[in-house]
């Protein structure tokens, strides 16, 4: 079955072609069937492959489709790799992807026919690119998908292209990603020069005998790529702006899948990172810093999607913390649980926006009674992200925090503090939106209704997953050999596990840490509930809150120190250097030519041809003299 893995990306690609090329001819229902059906087909194939991979005797399968680039000793095959890590991501992408496609059929229904088709074509193209990213068995194919998802993200953020602001957000996303991509590319070149190959198998087998300095360089550059794609400091500012795209897109691309590509890439390259402790420290610190920084901004946002966007940045930071402290399974685990609960949160937000035609939570309130399914699923997702047991986020977050404590207790303290903020801002969001009194217009209230089933069914399925997915990774401290995910992924991280020092788990300590983080989360929930459920304070933020509401003025800072100077420099080159320096020199030559021609004008007819002839003859004569007579 794993030999047929090429079908998984092929189906969405066909969907992209059909919907893209026939966008003016197809009816909306046919477009929906093509869009959703192809992704469902991919999910089914992935599931069948999963049952094969699940077998303990399964060995990694690499399928060579064709030779992409062969130059000299550099051989880059277009090939796919099926193993525990890739199949897990395949299931998440096609599974969550299908639900979001289904959701979109209703959410986007008001779009004009051809734009409806365009939307699904882009979405299918995204799934295709993402699958290529995951399946590639070398860094170049991974990069193909890596830039491909960036393109789709660009197209979907700017989907409503009449709006210039949306277009600018799309552009910003693409360009910031490109900055990261340059780092990724240079890492690839370094690998080529050091290992002579970009294939995972060869690179990883040569890594242990490579100097730590080289590995540190390569891993840091790859991490630069990850900060772009996965929105970490300093390249995170595109993600909140990316909320300009349709909400299902935010759920799929900017929460569940694309933004986790950086985590996938590092998890895939785990051996190189384990061998480069300096990079690990950098990854952990950047991840942690992003987590707390983004969480602080989320405290003061009033746009329902912006809160979720900063929350995503913050949760991605947790994942990088996990990678940085060597908890690779924990990071991947959190990718999975986060995909469920964050997609659910975004889709829930979409459901609210769909009903309210409003994104500002200050103008909502009391939606609980109007939208019961949306409300309950949203609440479950909030509990999951806040880390309340036994919901999924608790297990995955706790695994990362426990590993962080092992590495450095300060990581743990900051992580727990971030968890407190997370619980607080999520329940601020929940309470302001769903509890209390309705604060919208009576017209809005009149039209309020629960969303149709194409929207609620995905919500319910994701809610079930968000609640239960944690049981795939029950900590060892509760029951021996209960961590299914760790067991499943062990072949991927085997080499790293051998190198890392294993501290014998102190059961008492672990339980204490767990209790602390749960306690902190509960405090956050209760505090937010008490503050926002009845009579929320809806004043504009002032003082330090204003700094947070304005996102620490980072956009303004980038504008002042990078964009403006670069623009001024470009203007200077264009208006001053080009015209006054370079052209002046050239015109000098031109003037010299004209001057001499004026001098010879008396002797000549004044035609360019005449001069040309004379010049050629003169030079030829000079050289003939030089060559033949001087000899």
């Amino acid at each position: 079955m794993s030999k047929l893995v090429y079908l998984v990306p092929l189906f969405p690609f066909i969907g992209f072609l059909l919907n893209g090329l026939l966008r003016k001819k197809l009816s909306k229902s046919l477009i929906s069937i093509i869009g959703c059906g192809t992704v469902l087909a991919s999910f089914v194939v992935s599931l069948l492959i999963f049952f094969e991979v699940k077998d303990p005797s399964f060995q990694t399968v690499v399928i060579n489709l064709f030779d992409f680039i062969n130059v000299g000793s550099l051989k880059i095959p277009f090939s796919f790799q099926v193993d525990q890590l890739s199949i897990l991501f395949l299931l998440i992408i096609t599974g969550v992807g299908f639900l979001i496609h289904l959701y979109s059929t209703s959410y986007m229904h008001d779009e004009e026919n051809q734009h409806f088709a365009r939307y699904f074509a882009y979405l299918n193209l995204f799934v295709f690119s993402m699958l290529i990213l995951i399946l590639g068995s070398n860094y170049v194919i991974m990069f193909v998908g890596w830039e491909g998802v960036g393109l789709c993200s660009y197209l979907l953020i700017g989907y409503w292209f009449k709006n210039i602001e949306y277009g600018n957000a799309a552009k910003k996303a693409f360009i910031m990603n490109r900055i990261g991509d340059l780092g990724f590319l240079i890492a690839v070149f370094w690998m080529i020069s050091k290992f002579g190959s970009v294939n995972f198998a060869e690179v990883f087998s040569k890594a242990p005998t490579t100097s730590v300095g080289v590995l540190t360089g390569i891993t840091l550059l790859l991490f630069v790529g990850a900060t772009g794609k996965s929105a970490q400091i300093p390249l995170y500012t595109w993600l909140p702006d990316a909320m300009a795209g349709p909400t299902p897109v935010s759920a799929l691309i900017h929460a569940a899948t694309m933004v986790t590509a950086g985590i996938y890439m590092i998890a895939r390259s785990n051996i190189m990172y384990t061998l480069a402790p300096t990079t690990q420290t950098v990854v952990a610190i950047v991840g942690l810093a992003t987590a707390i920084f983004a969480a602080s901004i989320a405290l003061k946002q009033n746009d329902i999607k912006k809160v979720l966007a900063y929350s995503t940045v913050s949760q991605l930071g947790y994942m990088f913390l996990g990678l940085g402290v060597g908890a690779y399974t924990g990071a991947v685990f959190h990718v999975m649980t986060h995909a469920f609960f964050k997609a659910l949160l975004f889709l829930g937000a979409g459901s609210v926006i769909h009903a309210m035609h409003e994104q500002d939570i200050r103008k909502m309130g009391g939606l609980k009674k109007f939208m019961p399914i949306t409300h309950i699923t949203f609440l479950l997702a909030c509990l999951a992200i806040a880390g309340i047991p036994p919901f999924s986020g608790f297990f995955s977050k706790d695994e990362i925090l426990a590993a962080a404590y092992e590495k450095n207790p300060i990581y743990y303290v900051v992580g727990v503090f971030t968890a407190l903020m997370t619980a607080f801002y999520m329940f601020r969001l929940y309470a302001t939106t769903f509890l209390g009194k309705f604060r919208g217009t009576s017209d809005q209230e009149h039209h309020l209704h629960e969303s149709p089933s194409a929207i609620t069914i995905p919500l319910v399925i994701l809610a079930v997953l968000a609640v239960t997915a944690g049981f795939l990774g029950i900590p060892e401290v509760f029951a021996k050999d209960s961590h299914w995910l760790q067991h499943f992924l062990s072949p991927i991280f085997e080499a790293s596990t051998k190198i890392q020092e294993v501290h014998p788990a102190n059961a008492g300590m672990e339980l204490t840490l767990m209790a602390i983080s749960v306690g902190v989360a509960i405090i956050g929930v209760i505090y937010a509930w008490s503050k926002f459920s009845k009579d929320p304070d809806l004043q504009d933020a002032s003082g330090f809150g204003k700094v947070l509401a304005n996102k620490w003025y980072v956009d303004e800072l980038y504008d002042a120190i990078i964009l403006k100077p670069l623009n001024a420099f470009g203007k200077f080159l264009n208006n001053v250097v080009e015209k006054n320096v370079i052209d002046w020199m050239v015109n000098g030559i031109g003037r010299a030519v004209q001057y001499s021609s004026r001098q010879i004008r008396l002797l000549q007819s004044g035609q360019v041809g005449g001069y040309v002839l004379l010049m050629v003859i003169g030079i030829v004569i000079l050289f003939l003299v030089e060559i033949f007579i001087k000899k």
Partner: protein, 488 residues
Amino acid sequence: MIPVLLIAIPLLSGLVGFFIKNGDNAKKWSLFISLATLAVSVYGLTLDKASAALHFEAEWIPSLGSKFSVALDGMSQILSLLTAISFPIIFIATYNKEYKTPGKFYALMLLSQAGLIGVFVSVDALLFYFFWELALIPVYFLSSIWGGEKRIQATFKFFIYTFVGSLLMLVGIIYLYAHTADHSFSLQSFYKLKSAISGKDQSWLFWLFFIAFAIKMPIFPFHTWQPDTYEQSPTAVTMVLSGVMVKMGLFGLIRWLAPVIPGGTWLWGDTASALCIIGMIYASLSAIQQDDLKRLVAYSSIAHIGLMCLAVFATTETGLQGVMIQMFNHGINIIALWIVVELIERQLGTRKISELGGLAQKAPSLAILLVIVSLANVALPLTNAFVGEFLMFSGIYTSTATTYNVVFTVTAGISIILSAVYMLNMIQKVFFGNTNALTENAKDIKWNEKAILAVIVIMIVVVGVFPQPALELTKTTVHAILEKMNYK
């Protein structure tokens, strides 16, 4: 016989073309001829590399030791294929455009095609020089007669620039010729020279040739003729200039400079590379500032060509293979960009980005095709240019010809980011947003325009996904050139 046909068909039919008075007939005639040339070129690709049909030699000027000697190796094939593909594309894309005295216009176009192919297939230095000028002169007339308002000024600049370059090259050629053992202009005799010429002479000889080629490409700071000329020339001529003619400079560098004067190339490699990189960044930053679509594409092209030149000096197999495939890709992609510019200008009468907007609503097909072409221009994976850029950058990084390989890669790499900036800016301002009074009544493109852009898009994707056949084509040439360049 193939290379002779490739030259003779456009040359003779171009001369015939001067006598065609009717505009429609002139169009049909030149389109037919260009398609015939393309057929011959494609047929040449199917032949075995050792086939006798790919070579031809006859006496030309025996007293000077110059022969009419032409041959098609991998590099000549890919470049003459580019030339042969470009002309029919240009003729079809501009089919709806009317020129005054069309017979002469199309005749000169065909003559320049003959000259271009001649440049790419000559293996005799004097013949090479002859075709070099033959390609240039028709273009000079084309721009100065059929160009825009400031055409005289622009073409004068263009002429002076390239003519100075040509002269320097001629001096170099004569010097080399005088030192050949058998008093011959043949490439093979030139290849044998490298041990006969001292390092000091190689040093200044390098600059004679390099400046000639650098002007043609163009490389900073010899580039200022280019935006002006591109802007002022009729778009069909701009396509020839930028799609094919700039490759003459790269071709000259790879065939007549680097392997012939390897010592000089090695000595000045870092300096030339630095110029390339300064030019790349400079042109990219300038491109961001442009309001005229033609000038934007012109500066973007300077940046891309700079990368190719840089990759030649890297002296690596990956780098040089990247250059080979990129010369082809760049030609195709930039012609597509010009087609879009031409379609916009012909319909709306402006090329000013600030006057456009919202075209995607009115001309969705044009918007989609332009976006794909632009993505190729920023070298997105699975488009043709990614293969070239990836190989070139990889070659620059792994280069042992310089100790600055990492610095070169990183600084040149900034252009990857900047290219996204100016291309996306352009898409955004021209196609997205709301329509204005001017673009309100814009219409989508006609079927022949759609078809020709679709053909280019297919080429972009096919070469981007399956580049291997193209890489195989130029492999032997690359090996041969590297072997000669690695002499120290």
